[in-house]
Symmetry: C2
Subunit: 207 residues, 2 copies
DNA sequence: TCTCGAATACTGCCCTGTGCAGTATGAGGA
DNA sequence: TCCTCATACTGCACAGGGCAGTATTCGAGA
């Protein structure tokens, strides 16, 4: 029984360390919390625990609610140990898929209105995500399922919010800047070089 | 010949609109620029242009350098049109994979040193990415392959930099905060609730 | 001039993960 | 009693990724 190598496996072990879950609960829980920075399809979340059980990192217990069977997974000693070891391994680099930004990058193939519509969509999306994160934060303050883990939630939610706010600010900025453009392929009087120099100044300020 | 549905297909069309490329050049170019917000494996970038050609959105011309053959792809009228239409379609939501943050979220399964090491890795990674972005910006100011596209580069690079700086700031903040903790599962005197309320205040300030 | 490593230019294959449809039972309200 | 929503999964086809393998050309240095 080899140790599963995927981040997903250890993410599930992390949840199992908190309490036993049925696969269904696990799937729902991941969509609620982990999904923000480790999105996995439901299908995967039904399959992965089987591998954990096969590797001896979790136990699978088949129970029944009336005639309907359900499988409850719980972490084992070996699982707890594997999880602790995994925390020492260097994490995989961050990965970002941002299709809307591809549209911005190739905006000169279309109209200014198309570009601005894309920017509006980006703003709407991040505004919605900011709201959802704020709602999560408010909920955490009132009733939290795992109060002993509030400090880690505070840490991770902060990063997500900061990232989301960065996108939101950018979308608003970009929308305002493009108002000065005459077309998607002609920025008119807008000074691209000045904008890039401003960007470099931003980096210096951070260092 | 149905229109390819994937963002990758249109991303390649976007590049082909600028000039014809061999698949090899295309693959290298994507790694350099698009890879930041639309990462695709080299394997995919060799396959996708064939689909574009089959759909009539690009032409494939086999040339030769001595005995070694090479395929040059160029966009067609239909391709230019398809690209322009695609810009109107609502973009897919952003996707983020951040394995290091999973480690932070489940840090209470390990030691404080492990958590802090993870935070250090995150800081190093974003610092490196900030440097790379700054280098790209500097290079764009000196000699740019497509000067007529500088405004769009300025726009997209700004977002990437802002996001990266958000991560960098957070990593430094988190590193400082965790210094007050007594263990990964015991924040000691550190006030999680105050931190969450601060976060909510941040949202209000943005609105 | 010769050699060797790096760049060019791909293909094949296996595996992971996704999306979607399909199946069936249970619980609670109208 | 019926209906709807939640629970609890499985099967299948396909997209995409990782990695190894193949072969030629080019340029720098011995």
């Amino acid at each position: 029984m080899p140790a599963p190598g995927s981040t997903t496996a250890y993410a599930l072990l992390g949840l199992l360390r908190l309490r036993p879950w049925t696969t269904y609960e696990l799937a729902k829980q991941v969509q609620r919390s982990l999904h923000w920075f480790w999105p996995r399809a439901e299908r995967k979340l039904y399959y992965e625990p089987k591998l954990l059980a096969a590797a001896g990192l979790a136990t699978a217990t088949v129970e029944a609610t009336g005639k309907r069977p359900r499988t409850v997974y719980a972490i084992t000693e070996a699982g707890t140990e594997a999880l602790a070891n995994w925390l020492s391994e260097p994490p995989e680099p961050r990965g970002l898929e941002f299709a809307a930004l591809v549209k911005v990058f190739f905006a000169d193939a279309g109209t200014l209105a198309q570009l601005q519509a894309t920017l509006d969509r980006i703003e709407e999306e991040s505004a919605a995500r900011v709201d959802a994160l704020a709602a999560m934060a408010r909920q955490s303050l009132e009733e939290f399922a795992f109060p002993e883990r509030l400090h880690l939630s505070a840490l991770t939610m902060r990063l997500q919010l900061e990232q989301e706010l960065a996108v939101l600010r950018w979308a608003r900025w970009a929308r305002a800047e493009t108002r000065q453009w005459t077309a998607a392929d002609r920025p008119g009087a807008w000074d691209s070089e000045a904008s890039l120099r401003e960007l470099l100044a931003l980096v210096e300020a951070q260092r």
